[in-house]
Point group: C2
Chain length 233, copies 2
């Protein structure tokens, strides 16, 4: 947990959950709040979303957020955690697959493989369940979040993964100076984050083109783009 969460009657903090058959109901409320918060944070931003709009969308009482999560910031933390735990597992597994199968074959990891291992699960996560599209937009935006409190909550969930892909990229491209590689990875994160934000808002340019590509071809386009940028000499 990042920020000191004010907890007095927070159920998570009572010694033991004595009555567990109430779990269903409580999980329901928590899920409803998480779902509503995810969507509203993604659409309006953290600071521009009120707890009242969240709870009214979720159909629960205003005090439920502070009761179940402790604070608005802790709620954001849980919104990230719920999706990022499984997503990061997938990305980490794929990245280490690329690394290991290269090592087994006595060669360097392929740049395109590394980038795809990171990008594909991220973009495909959109199609992985209700509300997942909102979450992807939320993440894409949080990368550029001005508020440091919000940014730190997010980074605490993705920092290890960012370090991992940076390591493997160094193995894939040992001849490119480390600081160059660092910035090329930043360019990649920028392109990916932007894609995550804009993928379902076709009205970016004033002309009404861009019928909105499917996830697979978008992934392919992005991987191709950043691979070329990463490998150029």
């Amino acid at each position: 947990m990042i920020r000191g969460v004010k907890t007095r009657r927070h159920p998570e903090n009572t010694r033991e959950k004595t009555y567990m058959s109430q779990a269903d109901t409580k999980q329901d409320t928590k899920q409803l709040i998480l779902d509503a918060a995810e969507r509203l944070f993604a659409r309006n931003g953290f600071h521009n979303t009120s707890l009242r709009s969240i709870t009214s969308k979720a159909g629960v009482n205003l005090a439920a957020v502070n009761y179940h999560f402790g604070s608005k910031g802790a709620l954001l933390d849980k919104v990230f955690e719920r999706r990022l735990l499984p997503l990061n597992k997938i990305r980490q597994d794929k990245l280490e697959d690329v690394r290991n199968s290269a090592k087994k074959q006595g060669r360097r990891p392929g740049v395109e493989d590394v980038l795809r291992a990171f990008i594909e699960p991220t973009l495909c996560f959109r199609n992985s369940g209700q509300g997942a599209e909102d979450f992807i937009v939320l993440v894409g935006r949080t990368i550029h979040e001005p508020d440091n409190t919000v940014l730190k909550i997010f980074l605490s969930h993705v920092d290890p993964l960012f370090n991992l892909i940076f390591e493997i990229l160094q193995e894939a491209l040992p001849d490119i100076p480390k600081d160059h590689l660092f910035w090329r990875l930043q360019f990649t994160f920028g392109a990916l984050g932007h894609t995550m934000c804009k993928v379902d808002r076709l009205q970016f340019l004033s002309e009404g083109l861009t019928p909105g590509p499917d996830t697979n071809s978008l992934t392919q386009m992005l991987v191709q783009f950043v691979t070329a940028g990463m490998e150029t000499t």
Copy 2:
């Protein structure tokens, strides 16, 4: 002006500025507000910046913002306008230089030239005067701004330029499908916007490397990266 700005005693709306020698003083106050707002919007975001923090940083009265600008949103509009008018002029001129000198020589515009004509003035704008660094961060963040009101204010200033570079890119790469080119340009905007945000916050990854490159080498790295991505087949 984008949003309906509530104006009752707004000086800009009086028929004529009869007494012009007060312009100095008034401009002072407006400049002070613009400077403070630019910095605070960049650091904390639009919604997380209060008019009270702006006016207290500027050393002026709280009511000055509504008096001189009409509303908080109109202030943001002017913050963009002040910097974007000259910056867009430079970028447009450079882009049309590339286009025209190619046409004169009877060849297609060079992809790297096009991208550099857009990226170089943007990143170099950081070094162009006091507060310009803040503005660059502000723009980089606004690209991903959740709030539609804020986003529209920004887009109204950059839309023509985005269309121009898209046109010239199509001339430079006529064999690449239009929708592919569109997304590659989006990837480029994403990478550029991310760079604008992160250029002076070295603490992105947990390791403390990245001594912060100078603007020129960063420009070179980014242009090289996106050129390769744009040209790949």
